[in-house]
Symmetry: C2
Subunit: 332 residues, 2 copies
Amino acid sequence: MTAARHAVVAIGNAIVDIIGRCEEDFLARHGAAKGAMRLVDAQTVERLYGEMGPAIEISGGSAANTMVGLASFGGKAAFIGKVAGDEFGRIFRHDIGAAGVTFETVPVNGKAPTSRSLILVTPDGERTMNTYLGISTDLDHGEVDPALIEASEIVYLEGYLFDQPQAKAAFRQAVAIAGKAGRKVALTLSDGFCVDRHRAEFLDLIRSGVGILFANESEITALYETTDFDDAARRAAADTPLAVLTRSARGSLILSEGKAHKIPVEPVPKVVDTTGAGDLYAAGFLYGLTAGHDLATAGRLGSLAAAEIISHVGARPERSLGELARSRGLIS
Amino acid sequence: MTAARHAVVAIGNAIVDIIGRCEEDFLARHGAAKGAMRLVDAQTVERLYGEMGPAIEISGGSAANTMVGLASFGGKAAFIGKVAGDEFGRIFRHDIGAAGVTFETVPVNGKAPTSRSLILVTPDGERTMNTYLGISTDLDHGEVDPALIEASEIVYLEGYLFDQPQAKAAFRQAVAIAGKAGRKVALTLSDGFCVDRHRAEFLDLIRSGVGILFANESEITALYETTDFDDAARRAAADTPLAVLTRSARGSLILSEGKAHKIPVEPVPKVVDTTGAGDLYAAGFLYGLTAGHDLATAGRLGSLAAAEIISHVGARPERSLGELARSRGLIS
């Protein structure tokens, strides 16, 4: 096994977020489950966009956000995901590249537009996502560069990709390559409803080859079909060597080798927009892990990054997370 | 003269802002004068975008921002400006419409893209703009709907349009229609360098038909070619019935009928991004004026709107300015 060029390579949906504010009743009127992600078709995205208030556009995508966060800490990150050769594709490519993440997936012209997610933020700061996948559904195993996987310490997989059969094939291929090359596989479950749609396959993947599992409370309880978080956590610890479970305001729990580390949240004056909280927690944790810190420090770096992201609109950090962590004495 | 349907109709560039942070030396390296707006061609905008850091996209345009601000106070606003039938045009149209501003200018396909301004924000919060006009240069007198001008109490003109000969013709037509219909004409000088480029024509327009002149310190001193603000203010008061002069942290000065009203700034905890400060001051002032408030109250509404806009990224308000003004007891 040669030295890794990248700390982490992620595979995920390449998305531009269209973020606007709305009242609670707007969600109900449009049949959107608060806090969740739902897939919508081109017609629905048009209608919803026409009815939602003024918005701003910011590059997003769960695993892409995580890689940008990792790079902001100073970690070497790469991303695999599909964009079209349109304006949103250009925005996505610019932003991820300008953030220092290696992104070489070739844009596709003339098939479908770049993915976009209409993100509705309610007054409490909670985000509800309506995602039109567009060209993201075109991601297949041909996009997975074996050399890139082999050159990365960790392959990070976004659960949302399970909604696309071709992308699932890309996943499996990445896991196989990583396994052969002795690299670790990390998986984030992404969303409770997404877990409901693919429970058996997720469990199969977790038990067969996932070294690090990221999930929040609703995802891990959905995975094990229980309402008891502690029960779900115990089962996750049995199924995977390292389970990283986030619990919003209740902090996070890291389970590894029979030990549990409780990590507090980093307090924020005001929660503006929770978009990207889980993605950035994962960024901090993965940075800490690949930079050689202990699990508790990795968790605190995750909390710090999550706090930065929820204190402003959008899921891309507005300041250097490395500087932020140094100013807190978490890293040197 | 029939009752006005709109408080204000504005004519300006329809722009999507691409806002990113940069260090001071990035501006120097790219020959951009800090705090100013410069026009760039398609090649320059490409190169600059390629070299600037991650960005976010938010609808902008000086007069358009002012109309969105006016609508946020509860005023009836309309906007005339040119977009292309592309993704950025769609974003612009959605955002201004969703903000409650009447916007009916027909998009143009296949000529040039929608205008965009690369806005570089330095650590002190100051913004420096690099604008590619694109389809905005296509605005001409054909876009000026006489019925819309006649149905608005005030026609608000963005000085930036003087950089385009065709748009200048649209300006003059709007002034003529407004004059005949007994409507007021307001003009914002937009930018000191813009004033340098068109000084004689600005002075001619101001002396012949502008009822309300908006300018900041650098613009008004550029107009009268003096370094003495008080001297420039005196001359502005002689040239126009109502001069509204903003001075950043030093507040604003309203000159009318031989009287001067000094308006303090509204304090903000932290200046995040000054983009839109002047635009939103004008929004508050125009709302106050058209809603029947005295000049001092109109000025304070301007200060309040400017404070909201500089405390976050982007030049579109993030909260209801009407609610904000009511919470301060400025309006009921």
